[in-house]
Symmetry: C2
Subunit: 408 residues, 2 copies
């Protein structure tokens, strides 16, 4: 049997566990007798087009170094936000497939979110049309949890764990003074509120925050918001409010755009910032005398190695391993999906689904997981999300800080 | 020998280890044969004046619960920012000392920063003047590290560890795309730059950020800042800049006041926010085409249990224990200070210093620990701060989150 090489890339926004999927790909490939080399593209297909690739088997010849990859946050290979043109514009595809031949690539794995699945789908459609032997598979990754076809996405559980733990810490900290206070925390999520919804896990018998949760799935009204906060302050001195960055009004206008500052990235996504700040102003104007502050989690929610979820890390590795086993079995044009088994015990099955059905789509929180008043999530959502944050990580430290592995 | 009761309070801003000092006080008191009860004031002297106290020996009769206190961030007893009047205004003091008698208090310990030492100093001066037998001792606590008379303050090491680790994570995350980017991180510190300076620990052979560090100790110039960032971008694609919230111009005007929004708390301290946002705007205007974002660490830098420093926790406990031993030995009107032994090996001695010499003063970073260009710290500072972040904590989790103990 002729051996072939595998090419793997990471794309889109980083997560705390995207490198666990890379670890899974490398480990499973090195253990296989049909795969020769595992090449990594630096900065996704953008770097690949510039010929920037690395031999991962060689780089990680020290097993200890490879283990460190599992606790290293952000995309080890670097990432990109590069959108391929339609496959009728053949020039760039010809260039890529020539390069694939040059490096003896038999399979291409792309670890990423919706945009990356768009890339994997186009490459695979082009391969089909032109009779290429190369197999293309998508490996899911996004803190946003908005990929269709999968119970959840690797990366989400760790971000959810960071958010829940940190909201609990904020609630305890903000409650230290015996005064009325409102703390508004802005959480990532352009269109889907999965991350913000996970803040509900912060609650326990003693911590009642977040008292209010605002998601992009429910239209936002400033006046109703101020009155919600007033009501919450009647019950608790210390009110923590969680909002998705992508909350919008009933005309679908983003709240953060009220400040007139939203920018746009190369996929046409708006760069969102400032919803919490605007809400802070609304509280200060609408409820005089109350201490109010806003906090944005920003990059911190996707890059914490110490608050990564053990289960999320394990699953991220497994989707990488499953992807390698699948291409070896001859699969292509698919994404690895996770299916949750029915019943009380949490169990995941790994399956494949057509990647073209996944790219460029977004999964929202279903309406029955949001309370009628639109400011909280239901117990069913809690049952869904709680298992995803379970399991701690034994992190290796050096010089007082978590130890990571670096590309250069 | 007649037994007496001890009264302990926490005051000022919370830290990740302020409860370790409380733990030390409780443990040492319960182990002593001259102390009967350990009373905790809820929300400092403000709550005490309302009669809100709790019997800590009774509350923590379960040793397991007491152990959890050590990993619980924020002030377990609650805090206040209550400034006592001069001791000539006797009314409030009479009220307090009556209450002390009522509860059989023989010693009063106040865990806090400069303002709290002002409180301890006034009570102790009043006691001296009026011949009271009650002993008053200050137990240092502040993430700001700005107390005079002590090598460093409990709370600082943990915040420094959070800042260093998180800046490293941010640098790795921000470097994931192959584009020029500037990330500006705002770190606590009104007058002294100790916390922001600790960000230098984020650097290693692979991580060169923060490329620039701006401290309140050095006057800030917008034009010089933009030109510093331009220079940094020539060396690195991914530039992380750390700024103290309290940076000010050569006329001592706070940079964050340029936005005209600073508020004032009851000690007359300005509530600072927004310096990083203003610097972000300066970069976007001055260096077009560069991706720029700003991040405020806000409460997160003082409330992370998982990134607390093991050494800081241990020292925080020891200052609490030493305070109890000192009042038992008859000491009063002092604050527990830490003295670092000379030599290569890190070692701390606990000593007492006159509390009146400490309250209302602030220790700045000495000029010889700041580089000549004012945008970095020296190796001597690194040698000073590195030992403080060492040591990891074995945190108990439940349901996927750190487990804490709550007052109610």
């Amino acid at each position: 049997m002729q051996k072939y090489n595998i090419l793997v890339g990471q794309s889109g926004g980083p997560t705390a566990v995207i490198n666990c999927s890379l670890y899974g790909v490398i480990k499973e490939s090195l253990d296989s007798d049909v795969i020769d080399k595992v090449y990594g593209m630096k900065n996704g297909i953008e770097g690949f087009l510039r010929g920037e690739i690395m031999d991962l088997g060689e780089f990680f010849s020290d097993p200890d170094k490879l283990e460190l990859l599992k606790q290293t946050p952000s995309a080890f290979l670097g990432s990109c936000r590069y959108k391929l043109p339609p496959i009728d514009e053949t020039e760039i595809y010809e260039e890529m497939f020539e390069k694939f031949e040059e490096y003896g690539i038999g399979a291409f794995l792309y670890i990423g979110g919706n945009d990356s699945m768009d890339t994997a789908g186009k490459l695979s459609a082009y391969a089909k049309r032109h009779g290429s032997h190369i197999r293309f598979l998508g490996v899911p990754k996004t803190i946003d949890n908005d990929l269709v076809g999968t119970d959840h996405t690797p990366g989400y559980g760790s971000a959810a764990k960071y958010i829940a733990s940190t909201i609990r810490d904020i609630s305890i900290d903000a409650g230290t003074y015996d005064i009325k206070s409102v703390t508004i925390v802005e959480i990532m999520g352009r269109h889907a509120g999965w991350l913000c919804a996970a803040s509900a896990l912060a609650r326990n018998k003693h911590v009642h925050n977040p008292m209010l949760i605002y998601l992009p799935e429910t239209p936002f009204h400033f006046e109703r918001f101020v009155s919600d906060v007033k009501e919450a302050l009647k019950k608790e001195n210390n009110v923590v409010v969680c909002v998705s960055e992508g909350i919008r009004d009933s005309e679908h206008r983003l709240i953060c755009e009220y400040s007139g500052k939203a920018e746009v990235d190369s996929f046409g996504h708006k760069k969102l910032t400032g919803a919490a700040k605007l809400l802070e102003e609304a509280v200060m104007n609408g409820i005089p005398g109350v201490k109010c502050r806003s906090i944005e989690f920003s990059l911190l929610q996707r890059s914490s190695s110490v608050l990564a979820s053990g289960r999320d890390k394990e699953e991220a590795e497994q989707v990488g391993r499953f992807a390698v086993r699948s291409v070896i079995a001859g699969e292509s044009h698919q994404m690895v999906c996770m299916e949750r088994a029915e019943g009380d015990e949490y169990k995941i099955d790994y399956v494949l689904k057509d990647v073209a059905e996944i790219g460029n789509k977004e999964k929202m929180i279903p309406s029955w997981w949001i309370t009628k008043n639109g400011t909280d999530v239901t117990d069913e959502f809690i049952d869904y999300v709680r298992p995803l944050i379970e399991g701690e990580c034994d992190i290796r430290f050096s010089d007082g800080m978590p130890e990571y592995v670096y590309r250069d």
